[in-house]
Every structure is written in structure tokens, then in C-alpha cells.
């Protein structure tokens, strides 16, 4: 396959599509997305220096590769390459280096494959999915960027009635600088199925500028259940961009849990479309920032149908000179009577130089609904620290306990156990200043054999806080 050292222009769109051996309709769709990308104004945001795009660097320096990245992944992935875990995809940049799907899942028709493999196998199905994408090129510059320039991706589907309990996993390792990983993901839970997914994003070795961008189309068909989760651990100079659109049908339930620890800049959008009667959505944006990290989150709950339930939990801790902004929206259309929606943003600042903003907005066109909102941005509580110190904990330990505890009310709601436990482990790692992988947790557990019992938050989030009517 090819390497194209050209700028992000129309030429690159064509050559990418060609080297990926794509059908004409897809090339045309990329070109259309490219037009939006070039026409949409740069996204201004108080987090980024004025007039500089989110990328934070000259994208033109990058080379696009397709399916042939030379990445030394052996040491990093280790025994995952030799079947340590089934139902996993390992990726070095855009290139899949190992995939494993258990016989039992394969025989039930579960798909876990690169996007372009799915395209080859079932072109008409993929085409109709592509035509109904919810991450639109018209309204979002970075959505358009991915739609135009994706050089890889995943296709995940669980057939009707099949229920997964353990997550399908993928680990992505970003290596050689200047090779952006731009991905189109489809995650589809057919009727009455259950899909569970956990992805980990890493960078290898010393930090170099790099880019990981993805559009994720989640589809939860009637009566299905999707739990999708991401743990983002990219390197100090990486840029992370993600757009997730979640289409939820009648009586279906979808959750997206996202833990952001890595990257210099992260821009994460979640769009929950509660399209079916009785649909349910839950979004988690959990973050822990330091140094000069800049994270930009936006989560929208769009209630289009009656009896729908949605909640957004944004919670994080900021150190150093890091900054975050969280925009949360609840939109309840007139037809969506009897819906309930909850929006929360809570941030703890560990230094006066850190900054976090929450920008809630509520658009409610029906009176027979309940929407609740809760928000706070505060310095760490000195009285709590004193109480712990008065019980013999050193100032550092006290701080650690209060900080890690701050995540718990939200973390404990994250539905996938591996993600929840993994997130705790990674947050603790960041607190300690250690570079960890999720897999290290198992090793450590095997050594110490200790697990502190989990405390479950049982509070009914719809029963408290200020109510909008």
C-alpha cells in the first residue's frame, strides 16, 4: 500500500480512497465531507490559543498511511498477541496486528473486524449504514475531517438476540510520529442483543506529536443494550479527537463511558439521540488532567421520544495549569413527554492555576418531563484533608484519598466492571505519576491478591437537585 506525503487536500482524499480500494460512492462521500471540512470555519474555543485549530500543530506535516504502518508492537502487546485474551483487536496505528474472536462468538455471528474488511464483505449493508451516519460532515469540522480522511476503522456488530457479558476489546498503540490514525467505527447492537466494548488508546515511547481521531456510530436497535467504553492514555503531545453519535431505538439502552487521562489536547463529543420510546442513555466523561492539558467535552442528550431517560455525568480533577470545558445540553422535544434527563458537571481543582468551566443548557419543549442539573467547580476541601490527617494519614495520602474518592460517585456507576476497575487503576497510576497499562492491573492483582470492596452509589439522581419544569 502507499504512503502519501501530501497535505490534507482533495488529492489526499482521492489517493486514500484509491489505495484502500474503495467503491466510487465512498470516494464521493469523502469528497463531500472534504468540502465541508474546508468550508467550515476553524472551531474557536477558549481552551485553545486564538486562531489555532484544535490540532495544535500543522497537520500538513503528517503522512497518511493505509494498512502498512511499521510499528514495533511486540513488546507492548506481549502475550495479548498470543491469545492471552479472546475477542480482542490489537492495532499499531491504523494497522491491525492481531485479532481474535472466540469460536463461540464467531459461530453466533458476532463481527469484530476492520472497517474495510466489512466493506468488502457486505458492501450494500455498510453503504446504507454510511448513508445514515449521525456524525454529519455539515455541522462539525472534525466530524467532516474524519469522514474525509479516515484511513482505518472498525466494524462491530452483535446479531439479534445474542448477549455478550464480557467486553469485546481493542487496544490501539500510536507509534511513529506524523502518522495520523483517523478512524470510522460502527458499533451495532441488533434487536434484543447486548454489546459490551472496551477500548484503550496508548502512545508508545517518548512523546511525539501524533493524532488519533475517530467518528463512532453507535446503533442500539430496539430492545438492545450497548455499553461502550474508552480509556484514553495517549502521549503528552498527542491530539485526540472523538465524535460519538448514539442512535437509540425503542426500549434500548446505551451507555458511553469515557476516561480521558492522556494527550495534550482532547476534543470529545457525545451525541445521544433518544429516538425510541422508552430509550435510555447514560454518558460518562471522566477526566484527570495535569500540566498544560486542554480537554474540551460536549455531551448532548436529545430526547425525541416519550418515556426516554438520559443522564450525563462529567467529573474530573485538574492539576497544574490544565484547563477543561464541558458543555452539556439537554434537549427534550414536544413529543417526548414523560421523559427524564439529568446533567451533572463536577470538577475539583488541585491548584489555583487550573481552570474548569461547565456550560449547561436546557431546551425543554414539554411540561410533562423532569430535567435535573447539578454542577460545581471547587478547590479541594481543606476540612476533609484535616479530618483524614487527624486519623494519621500523611498530607499526601489524605490528598490522594480525597481525590480518588471524588471520582467514585460517578466511577462506581460505570457499567462495565473491567472498565470501572481499570479506570480506578489508571487514575491511581496518573496520581502516582506512573505510566501504566490496563493489563498491569491483573499482574499486580495476581501479586497482591487484594481487592478493596466496592461501594455502590445508590442515590436516585432524579430525586435531587434543582428541578427544571
Amino acid at each position: 500500500m502507499s504512503q502519501a506525503a501530501v497535505s490534507f487536500g482533495e488529492e489526499l482524499v482521492r489517493s486514500l480512497s484509491k489505495s484502500l480500494d474503495e467503491p466510487d460512492w465512498l470516494t464521493a462521500s469523502r469528497l463531500e465531507a472534504f468540502r465541508s471540512f474546508s468550508q467550515l470555519p476553524p472551531e474557536l474555543n477558549p481552551l485553545y490559543t486564538k486562531y489555532v485549530s484544535t490540532f495544535g500543530f500543522q497537520v500538513d506535516q503528517f503522512k497518511m498511511t493505509t494498512g502498512k504502518s511499521e510499528v514495533d508492537f511486540r513488546t507492548f502487546f506481549g502475550d495479548f498477541l498470543t491469545g492471552k485474551e479472546s475477542n480482542i483487536v490489537l492495532q499499531g496505528n491504523e494497522t491491525q496486528v492481531h485479532a481474535e474472536l472466540s469460536d463461540s462468538l464467531a459461530s453466533q455471528g458476532v463481527n469484530l473486524m476492520p472497517f474495510h474488511e466489512a466493506l468488502k464483505a457486505e458492501e450494500s449493508k455498510v453503504r446504507s449504514l454510511m448513508e445514515r451516519r449521525n456524525v454529519k460532515s455539515s455541522g462539525d469540522r472534525y466530524g467532516a475531517f474524519v469522514n474525509a480522511f479516515f484511513n482505518g476503522g472498525l466494524f462491530i456488530r452483535v446479531p439479534r438476540g445474542v448477549k455478550l457479558e464480557e467486553p469485546l476489546r481493542r487496544m490501539l498503540l500510536l507509534d511513529s510520529p506524523k502518522t495520523p490514525v483517523v478512524e470510522q467505527l460502527f458499533v451495532i447492537a441488533e434487536e434484543e442483543s447486548k454489546l459490551v466494548f472496551l477500548e484503550e488508546l496508548y502512545s508508545k515511547g517518548p512523546s511525539v506529536p501524533s493524532l488519533a481521531a475517530s467518528n463512532v456510530e453507535l446503533v442500539a436497535r430496539a430492545g438492545s443494550h450497548v455499553d461502550f467504553s474508552t480509556i484514553q492514555l495517549l502521549g503528552e503531545q498527542a491530539t485526540h479527537i472523538s465524535n460519538r453519535a448514539v442512535d437509540i431505538s425503542n426500549d434500548a439502552r446505551a451507555t458511553v463511558s469515557s476516561l480521558s487521562l492522556g494527550s495534550a489536547v482532547s476534543r470529545s463529543r457525545m451525541n445521544f439521540l433518544l429516538n425510541g420510546r422508552g430509550s435510555q442513555a447514560e454518558g460518562f466523561e471522566i477526566f484527570f488532567t495535569d500540566a498544560r492539558q486542554r480537554f474540551d467535552f460536549e455531551t448532548n442528550l436529545v430526547h425525541n421520544s416519550p418515556d426516554s431517560t438520559g443522564s450525563t455525568h462529567a467529573r474530573g480533577v485538574l492539576k497544574g495549569e490544565s484547563q477543561t470545558i464541558f458543555k452539556g445540553m439537554i434537549k427534550i422535544v414536544n413529543a417526548a413527554k414523560n421523559s427524564r434527563s439529568y446533567l451533572a458537571h463536577h470538577a475539583m481543582l488541585l491548584e489555583r492555576t487550573a481552570k474548569s468551566d461547565g456550560v449547561p443548557s436546557l431546551e425543554i419543549d414539554n411540561n410533562e418531563v423532569r430535567a435535573t442539573h447539578s454542577a460545581s467547580v471547587a478547590q479541594i476541601d481543606e476540612e476533609q484533608l484535616f479530618y483524614l490527617m487527624a486519623r494519621g494519614l500523611s498530607p499526601d495520602e489524605s490528598k490522594r484519598m480525597v481525590v480518588l474518592g471524588f471520582f467514585e460517585p460517578v466511577l462506581s456507576r460505570v457499567p462495565i466492571e473491567k472498565t470501572r476497575e481499570g479506570a480506578r487503576f489508571m487514575i491511581e497510576g496518573k496520581w502516582q505519576g506512573e505510566k501504566r497499562r490496563l493489563a498491569d492491573r491483573e499482574t499486580l492483582l495476581a501479586q497482591t491478591g487484594e481487592l478493596t470492596p466496592e461501594v455502590k452509589e445508590t442515590e436516585d439522581i432524579f430525586e435531587r437537585h434543582y428541578k427544571y419544569r
Binding site: D381, E382, E383, Q384, F386, Y387, L388, M389, A390, R391, G392, L393, S394, P395, E397, S398, M401, V402, L404, G405, F406, F407, E408, P409, E450, T452, P453, V455
Partner: protein
């Protein structure tokens, strides 16, 4: 060994609150500290424990002859000091279990081996039983949503685990129902042996029926203005504080201090 407070002056946000407190507590002794609202009892408790907001402006606090002023609270714990809070703080997300375990491990005698999680569970189970507390407390967030009485019991649970040499109990008896008062008071008695010296801050005589003080002190406007035996608390209950404070104010008026 003694906890000695010598001419202690302390202030909060530049405002002088303690204005020359003198008190000496030996091991095995129980002292009751009474006094009207706002007289500085909790301030004394916080200052002893090393709350960062409370500045010692002069005077001394010694344990076993060594000054503890300037030490962080955790270092004071290691010297054997304990404070049961008048208003225990709640911390979301921190489980009672992991908190107690940390408290236990941080107050063990140096050199002793930390118990395993299972050994520790047994230790706690026994103390919970002593205080008639349910196991389910361990799975809750620290003091979060605890009733007033439950918080006070939890304070004594911590004291039982930490086995201090000197314990300051700030209104541990407030907000307890009759049965809880007895359970908590008996708990205090069991936990404090002949090695423990305690300072019991209280407004009521009722706890003193269970926990017998050898000394009773009255604090007023940042000073201890009267000390006596147990009968002093009975007199106070009968006559109220003006009986002493009135006399004190007259005294002050007669000989105005230079401040």
C-alpha cells in the same frame, strides 16, 4: 507521660480566641471541659490536633515533654493524640472500610506488621460489636448520610481502632439518644485504659455519670477560669455559667488587663 498545655494562645484568621490556656493531663486521667457556647473549647481541640487554620501565637503544647506545635496532624497522631470531632466531616467516595484501615495502619506502633485485609476485618468486627454498630457501615462512604448519633459512634469506633494515649472528645455526647449515650460512654471507658488520658468536652452532666472525670474545668473567653472536682459539674448544672462568669467579669473589671 503527660499532655501539657502551657499558656496557650491561638488565633483564627488573625482573631485571638485562646488567651492563655493552662492544662495538664496525665495518663489514666479523665478531665471534663465545660463552658458556654463560643468560649473556645473546640478551638482548643483543633489547635491541639494541628488544624492549619488555627495559629498558635504563643505558649506550648507538650506530649511527654516534647513540643508538638508545628507538627502536621498525622505526626501528632503518631505521638498518641486523638480528636473525636464535634462535627465529623463526610467524604464522598471514600469507603468507611478503606478509611478505617488507613487510620488503623497509620496509628499502629512503629515496627509492628500491618494486618492483612482479613485480619483487619476481624479487628473491626469486634469494635463494631462493642459499639452496637452494623457491619453495613463499612460499605458506606465516610460519614456520608450518617445520622448525628451514627457519626458520634463512628468517632469512637475510630478511637477504638487507633488506641490513642491522649484523647480529646469534643461533645461526643451531643445528639445521642439515651441508649446510644450509654453505649458510647461504655465504649469510651473500654477504649481508654489506665494508659489513656482524656479531655471530655461537654455541656451536660449526664455523660459524666458513665465517664467519671477526676477534674472538671470551665472555659470562658479563651481561658480556663475555674477548675475543680466532679462536684463542680453538678454545681454548674444547677446554677448555670453566670455563677462563675459573672464573678469573673467583675474580677476583670476590678483589675483591667493591659490588652
Amino acid at each position: 507521660m503527660k499532655l501539657e498545655i502551657k499558656d496557650l494562645h491561638a488565633s483564627v484568621d488573625g482573631k485571638a480566641i485562646l488567651k492563655g490556656v493552662n492544662l495538664s493531663i496525665g495518663q489514666g486521667e479523665t478531665h471534663a471541659l465545660m463552658g458556654p457556647n463560643g468560649s473556645g473549647k473546640s478551638t482548643l481541640a483543633y489547635t491541639l490536633m494541628g488544624h492549619p487554620k488555627y495559629q498558635v501565637t504563643s505558649g506550648q503544647v507538650l506530649i511527654d515533654g516534647e513540643s508538638i506545635v508545628g507538627l502536621t496532624p498525622d505526626k501528632r497522631v503518631k505521638k498518641g493524640l486523638f480528636l473525636a470531632f464535634q462535627y465529623p466531616v463526610s467524604v464522598q467516595g471514600v469507603s468507611m472500610f478503606s478509611f478505617l484501615r488507613a487510620a488503623y495502619n497509620n496509628s499502629r506502633p512503629a515496627g509492628s506488621e500491618a494486618p492483612t485485609i482479613f485480619e483487619f476485618k476481624e479487628v473491626v468486627a469486634e469494635k463494631l460489636k462493642m459499639l452496637s454498630m452494623d457491619d453495613s457501615f463499612l460499605n458506606r462512604y465516610l460519614n456520608e448520610g450518617f445520622s448525628g448519633g451514627e457519626k458520634k459512634r463512628a468517632e469512637i469506633l475510630q478511637m477504638a481502632l487507633m488506641q490513642p494515649k491522649f484523647a480529646v472528645l469534643d461533645e461526643t455526647d451531643s445528639g445521642l439518644d439515651i441508649d446510644a449515650l450509654r453505649i458510647v460512654a461504655e465504649g469510651i471507658n473500654k477504649v481508654s485504659g489506665p494508659q489513656t488520658g482524656s479531655l471530655l468536652i461537654t455541656h451536660y452532666q449526664r455523660i459524666l455519670k458513665y465517664v467519671k472525670p477526676q477534674f472538671v474545668h470551665v472555659m470562658y473567653q479563651g481561658r480556663i477560669i475555674e477548675s475543680g472536682g466532679e462536684d463542680l459539674s453538678r454545681l454548674l448544672e444547677e446554677k448555670g455559667y453566670t455563677w462563675i462568669t459573672g464573678y469573673q467579669e467583675e474580677d476583670q473589671a476590678a483589675a483591667p488587663s493591659p490588652q
